[in-house]
Symmetry: C2
Subunit: 235 residues, 2 copies
């Protein structure tokens, strides 16, 4: 199967969670927007294409299937790419964990845009600093502590006792948070040894290492979801 990934060019964003799965599996895929420009998404977003209409990127085209929402895409790709356990109950567990990662990603986005996505960060910076203080103090320890415990209750090395797309997403989550909140994540590090071990092992997987060293891996920047604004960080 040849896959077409559609996502905003220029940022890692939510598309990166799908990209990591495709790269790790060595899947045959085209990053369509990077080759053809943002306008190529328009017929899908305006409902002129067959299949389920996406509300927003990323979306994946696989034959006649068009599917949006990161967690749904990974749930679909998981078995084919051998990135999820086979048992249905474990597939559901993977979906649950991915959805919880997605919840934190949404909170991270709203940390730099607490009032409106349609406004610039600079126009809501004061509110962002208030929200960031809460994220650093309450939400990050709660979410990351939860994932640390999930690893501890599995085999200490994987979220699901074997490699899966959830591990790839946890790698991306940790990497993004370290870019956005270097001081806070350094302070939390002693409490998250299993997440750090997982992150290091994922980075060393041959296909992931090759991807991270390639031009296909865009650097984090202040247009994406994880944004480094020093005034939002503190130990």
């Amino acid at each position: 199967m040849h896959y077409e990934l559609y996502y905003w060019s220029g940022i890692q964003g939510r598309g990166e969670f799908v990209r990591l799965a495709l790269e790790d599996a060595g899947a045959d895929y085209t990053d369509v927007v990077r080759e053809q420009g943002d306008a190529v998404m328009e017929p899908f977003l305006s409902g002129q294409q067959d299949g389920a209409r996406p509300f927003a990127p990323p979306f994946l085209k696989a034959g006649r299937l068009v599917l949006a929402q990161v967690s749904a895409i990974l749930h679909y790709l998981g078995p084919t790419l051998e990135l999820v356990p086979e048992a249905e109950s474990r597939r559901l567990q993977a979906l649950q964990l991915q959805l919880t990662i997605a919840d934190l990603v949404a909170e991270v986005h709203d940390t730099h845009h607490p009032i409106a996505s349609s406004l610039y960060y600079q126009d809501q910076q004061a509110e962002a600093q208030l929200r960031a203080a809460d994220l650093r103090a309450q939400r990050l320890p709660k979410f990351l502590g939860y994932f640390e415990q999930v690893l501890a209750q599995a085999d200490g090395r994987h979220a699901l006792r074997q490699h899966s797309y959830v591990d790839l997403s946890l790698f991306q989550l940790m990497s993004g948070l370290q870019y956005m909140f270097p001081r806070r994540m350094a302070a939390l590090a002693p409490e998250l040894p299993l997440l750090h071990g997982l992150q290091e092992r994922v980075a060393q997987r041959p296909r992931i290492a090759a991807y991270l060293a390639s031009e296909r891996r865009l650097p984090f920047n202040t247009n994406g979801i994880f944004r480094h604004y020093p005034e939002l960080d503190a130990a």
Copy 2:
């Protein structure tokens, strides 16, 4: 199968999306927390129970399976409760739509809590009014316009050309938004005829009508996700 639903007592909240599916299907279920109190969730949330550990309620227990996250629960229940089309591609489409509903629900929550879930609404009311203005002007028309188009591109009566849990969730979404933003939703009504028609038909389904008339259906209130604060509403 006997199902056990676990969710905060006293509010509809996210649990209501699961409850509506169980009620519509006439499923055999226990609303455990309403019978036994909030403390009954603690062993699950602290990881003392087998199975996937929930980050937060709602979660469902079905035999040995414990599953959290509304969209994952509905994806699991869909086939058994005959609340989703059988084809895998259509099950994925349902999941995509449910996840998009969940995205709006999260934005609605953050409208009255834009800075921190850990603070009272009154302590972030000024920011909430700014965020509510953006939700009313930008986000509600965008999301609801999308769902209206999804209905139009299906059969005009269902999101998936047949009754599904997505329709039940759209009913709940419309009902909650009408409680929270009566003036704004009245102003938007002429642009959303298909969503209103769907909402009326769902309310008239015999089991849903019986449920809505029962004491099991809690009224909306200002502790839940959809909260009516008059200062956040405007036409």
